[in-house]
């Protein structure tokens, strides 16, 4: 139902978004992103958390102003919140003090639609989206799936040209999400919804392939469009269809692809930032060990296809990628072409006892994680072998936001404790080399 000749509804031209860092400089979230949306298509923005895709959605809706670049909706440059665009939120964003009906009427009321007309349209939307009978219920009385249906009804009742969806199914359980997706696609392909096109943010690869006409795959830090993939499989699509599977595999490959060398020089590979400012995701030791053990055991015996192991472990790509990348950083595993392979070091870790694992882990941390090496170095240098948290926080804030700096230190503390590299006293907010006796 779409073609390149369909009218252009939305166009974003080299959109950049950057935040000033406390220590000077800028943290770039989106770097020269182009995007177009034509009438009749569903476009997905697919990427990891931190790739700026949600930020882009908010820029398109006018909630956030881009640092540079411009967005045009229906040929007019976006300034402030635009008419003709409505959003569905990941968290539903329903007002708990309004009933289902009042929540759906919410957007119409703000527009000053006359009362009778408003009621008529709201009831029609409720009817369409399958919420009949729930009109007088409050959001807390209904299930997550029903709540998100209210979110959909509230968005389409204002007859937007463009429907923006920010991970609309990710807060739902698997079965509910599937039902909602199917219902949505059915209404969409029958043309029953008063919308012209859809722009959706997701981190779920299969969801993107299932729903979209085009997928823009984002790379992280800073967010860029790494690849644009056209999905030509006719609707309704089946997850078991070989073309579907091969497309999912291909996207996994794109998402684990090493950044081009030019970028790696400045970004330090997948995990961006250099030295101590390298971003360390919140990954626990148990998750690292768990993934390595799953990899080492049958049927994988050290090498696995990422989509396959993701579905075996019942994990989203978004949960799996950070763990895999940390394994790669610590040289416990290699990532390439959508595959993950355990290294010899990784195998030694899996085979070792608790204490040997800790020693191995400590060694790898000290060699490959600059922040941990740095903390250890500072503690070694000081005669007291103690250093305050604030010392490192201030140092990191020169490179990143405070939030990011705290996240990195939290990760470093967790890994350092496990590897018994240093200890940390949260009451005194001090690092030290001694362990409590």
């Amino acid at each position: 139902m779409m073609s390149t000749t369909s009218p252009l509804l939305l166009q974003a031209k080299s959109v950049c978004q950057a935040f000033p860092k406390p220590g000077g400089g800028e943290l770039v979230v989106l770097d020269k992103v182009d995007l177009s949306l034509r009438q009749g298509e569903i476009v997905s923005l697919l990427g990891r958390s931190g790739s700026g895709k949600s930020t882009l959605l908010r820029i398109v809706s006018g909630l956030i102003k881009p640092t540079s670049g411009a967005v045009e909706v229906n040929g007019r440059t976006v300034q402030g919140c635009v008419r003709g665009v409505a959003m569905v939120f990941q968290s539903f964003a329903l007002f708990p003090w309004l009933t289902v009906l009042e929540n759906v009427e919410f957007g119409l009321e703000a527009l000053g639609v006359p009362e009778a007309d408003m009621r008529h349209r709201a009831l029609a939307a409720i009817d369409l989206i399958g919420l009949d009978g729930y009109e007088s219920a409050y959001p807390k009385e209904i299930s997550g799936g029903m709540r998100q249906r209210v979110g959909f009804a509230r968005a389409i009742v204002v007859h937007p040209n463009i429907l923006l969806m920010d991970e609309p199914f990710s807060a739902l359980d698997v079965l509910t999400a599937e039902t909602l997706r199917t219902d949505f696609l059915e209404l969409w392909s029958e043309g029953k919804m008063p919308i012209k096109s859809v722009l959706m943010v997701t981190h779920n690869i299969e969801e993107a392939v299932l729903m979209s006409d085009r997928i823009l795959v984002f790379s992280s830090n800073p967010g860029r469009v790494a690849s644009e993939i056209r999905v030509d499989i006719p609707q309704p699509r089946s997850r078991l269809d070989p073309t579907f599977r091969s497309l999912v595999d291909r996207i996994y490959g794109v998402m684990t692809q090493k950044a081009p060398d030019r970028a790696r020089e400045t970004l330090g590979g997948h995990i961006s930032g250099v030295g101590v400012a390298m971003i360390m995701p919140r990954v626990s030791i148990n998750q690292l060990a768990g993934l390595m053990e799953a990899l080492a055991g049958p049927p994988y015996n050290g090498k696995a296809d990422l989509p396959a192991i993701a579905s075996l472990l019942q994990m989203d790509a978004d949960d799996l990628f950070p763990i895999a990348e940390i394994l790669q950083l610590l040289h416990f595993a290699d990532l390439a072409e959508g595959d993950i392979r355990l290294t010899d070091l990784g195998r030694r870790f899996v085979d070792a006892e608790v204490d040997a694992r800790k020693r191995l882990f400590a060694e790898c941390c000290l060699t490959h994680v600059p922040l941990i090496a740095h903390i250890k170095h500072v503690l070694d240098e000081r005669p007291s072998h103690r250093a305050p948290y604030s010392r490192f926080l201030e140092e990191l804030e020169d490179h990143a936001t405070e939030e990011l700096a705290r996240q990195n230190l939290r990760a470093a503390i967790g890994w350092g404790r496990y590897g018994e590299i240093f200890s940390y006293d949260d009451d005194a907010e001090t690092f030290s080399l001694e362990n409590p006796v």
Partner: protein
């Protein structure tokens, strides 16, 4: 925003139903009573002299009504103040910079010390009318209620969920619409809870502020407070008893008719998407929501509110310069800081100058010394009250059936104005010839100790069951059970209660360190009696000095002690 009692007026609902039998008289009765009381409040000042307060019991209901209306007026004023002040502080960074510290200090200033200043101001504002002293009393109650309400509202505004805010902006709500559709409803549960707490503090002040003597002038506003003051002057213990009984009924009525319905109604604004375990219920709310008559009466109000909230009024904006600002924001900030600092310095100088004109260095030393005495009193009393009420509270809180029954009583005791009971204490002290410095002290905490009790009960009730089971499983008992298991778990709740109790005790010291019974006056040494004596003598510089010293003491105690404990408890001991 929708009113509490909104029922859509569809035609099918016009016929009366059984709820109307109770609701009609209730609504009309309340309206009539308010009308009568309000009319009397604006009578000329001579009326106060013409019909002095009398101890006739038949007058008590009328007095109770006047007292109640004063409370209501103050509550409405506090609410308006809260909406404006809280919104301003939350929306403007520069306003926040100055408004929030001011609020913090205002919370620590002894309200009762101020009445002498405000009464003069209000009498000048309404010369010859009862409205002057009336407004002074209402203002005193207002100052006891407004600050924590404004704080709560400000904090709610700062924590409005981001996605709801985005939904509002995405659906093109104007700032005015957003305020009534999102911000006020979101703040509602916290605001109503704080209103209830304020109210329970307010009864104390309404009693203390109705009968005021400043210098040689005495103002007795008809009300329960004045009735008790007269009973004390005439040494009529029976009349005090009647006043206590009346107060009891008034507080229960307020709770049942106003706050319980409000709390039950506000439950729907609670943001948590999961349903709460204990849902507050109110028979009055049920009555009002189910009665067709009430629905019909309120439907025009509903309609009005609906239109009001649909207005697209722009946000009140500070004037924006048409050209690009010629100074970077950081410079404007600096100028603003300097301006604020200059204003504060000037204000401090004026206070200092005012005091210096008639008082010397040794007066300051004396005030500080008395402040230390009162400080010791407050700390000792809080410690004693904790020793008693923490174990009792834990014992009650671990027994859910008992707690359900005891909690409202503890809340009621906290609301009950303890100053009504002072005469009884004086009679005992005089009879047994006890030392006033020691035996007047417990009065300070008579009304405020209950905050410790009901917070501890709340903490023990909320204590996680699995932790209790672990303790039982490992057979942890005795002293160890107290220090390792239960005390850390209820600590945040205890601190909340103790902070309230401590603040209340400072304020109470002004009325408890000097207590009279007929011609006998008992006086304890302390900053409270210093301020009270200066008020009676109309010695403004000493009142000012006393208030300033007490404020400094309270602020230092809060910052140096209570807030530290609170931060510690939030960080370490929060169980959720």
């Amino acid at each position: 925003m929708r009113g509490p009692l909104v029922v859509s007026a569809r035609l099918s609902r016009v016929t009366p139903n059984r709820w109307d039998i109770v609701a009609v008289p209730l609504v009309l009765g309340v309206l009539a009573i308010i009308a009568v009381g309000a009319h009397q409040m604006a009578s000329p000042l001579e009326a106060l002299q013409k019909t002095p307060v009398s101890l006739d019991i038949a007058n008590l209901p009328g007095y109770a009504l006047r007292t109640t209306l004063r409370m209501l007026a103050a509550l409405v004023a506090s609410l308006l103040f809260t909406l404006v002040y809280g919104a301003l502080a939350a929306k403007s960074r520069r306003a926040e910079l100055i408004l929030i510290p001011i609020l913090d200090v205002l919370q620590s200033v002894p309200i009762l010390g101020f009445i002498s200043f405000t009464i003069v101001a209000f009498i000048r504002m309404f010369p010859g009318s009862t409205l002057g002293p009336e407004c002074a009393a209402i203002f005193a109650i207002f100052t006891s209620q407004a600050w924590n309400m404004a704080f709560s509202f400000y904090q709610s505004l700062r924590t409005v969920p981001k996605d709801l805010d985005e939904a509002c902006r995405g659906f093109h709500l104007s700032a005015w619409q957003r305020f009534w559709r999102l911000e006020v409803p979101y703040a509602m549960p916290g605001l109503i809870w704080n209103m209830m707490m304020s109210m329970s503090g307010g009864w104390f002040f309404v009693v203390a502020s109705e009968a005021i003597s400043v210098g040689n002038q005495t103002y007795n506003l008809p009300g329960i407070g004045s009735y008790v003051a007269l009973a004390i002057a005439q040494q009529d213990l029976a009349a005090v008893g009647w006043a206590v009984l009346t107060m009891l009924i008034v507080i229960i009525a307020y709770d049942q008719l106003l706050f319980r319905p409000l709390v039950a109604w506000a439950e729907k604004f609670r943001f948590e998407q999961t349903a709460a375990q204990i849902i507050p219920k109110s028979w009055v709310l049920n009555l009002l929501q189910r009665s067709r008559f009430v629905g019909l009466v309120l439907s025009p109000v509903d309609l009005l509110l609906r239109h009001a909230r649909r207005l697209r009024l722009p946000a009140p904006r500070l004037p924006v310069l048409p050209v690009k600002p010629w100074l970077p924001p950081i410079f404007v900030d600096r100028i603003w800081y300097v301006a604020v600092a200059a204003m504060s310095l000037y204000a401090a100088w004026r206070v200092f100058d005012f005091i210096r004109a008639s008082l010397g260095f040794w007066d300051l030393i004396q005030a500080l010394e008395l402040g230390l005495i009162t400080l010791v009193r407050v700390l000792v009393l809080i410690a004693l009250a904790s020793l008693i009420w923490v174990p009792v509270g834990v014992w009650i809180g671990l027994r859910p059936k008992l707690a359900e029954w005891a909690q409202p009583i503890a809340q009621f005791l906290a609301a009950f104005p303890a100053n009504l009971l002072f005469p009884a204490a004086v009679v005992i002290i005089v009879r047994f010839n006890l030392n006033a410095d020691i035996w007047l002290s417990p009065l300070m905490i008579l009304g405020t100790q209950w905050y410790i009790l009901f917070n501890v009960i709340a903490g023990a009730t909320a204590y996680p069951n699995d932790l209790k089971e672990v303790a039982a499983n490992f057979d942890m008992r005795g002293w160890k059970w107290w220090t390792k298991v239960i005390l850390p778990g209820i600590f945040p709740y205890y601190i909340t209660g103790a902070i309230t109790a401590s603040g209340g005790s400072w304020n109470a010291s002004i009325v408890t360190e000097i207590v009279a019974w007929g011609t006998t006056t008992l006086r304890a040494h302390g900053l409270g009696s210093y301020i009270a004596k200066a008020t009676i003598e109309g010695d403004y510089p000493r009142i000012m000095l006393g208030i300033a010293v007490m404020s400094v003491f309270v602020i230092l105690l809060n910052r140096g002690f209570w807030r530290r404990l609170y931060v510690l408890s939030e960080r370490r001991l929060r169980l959720d």
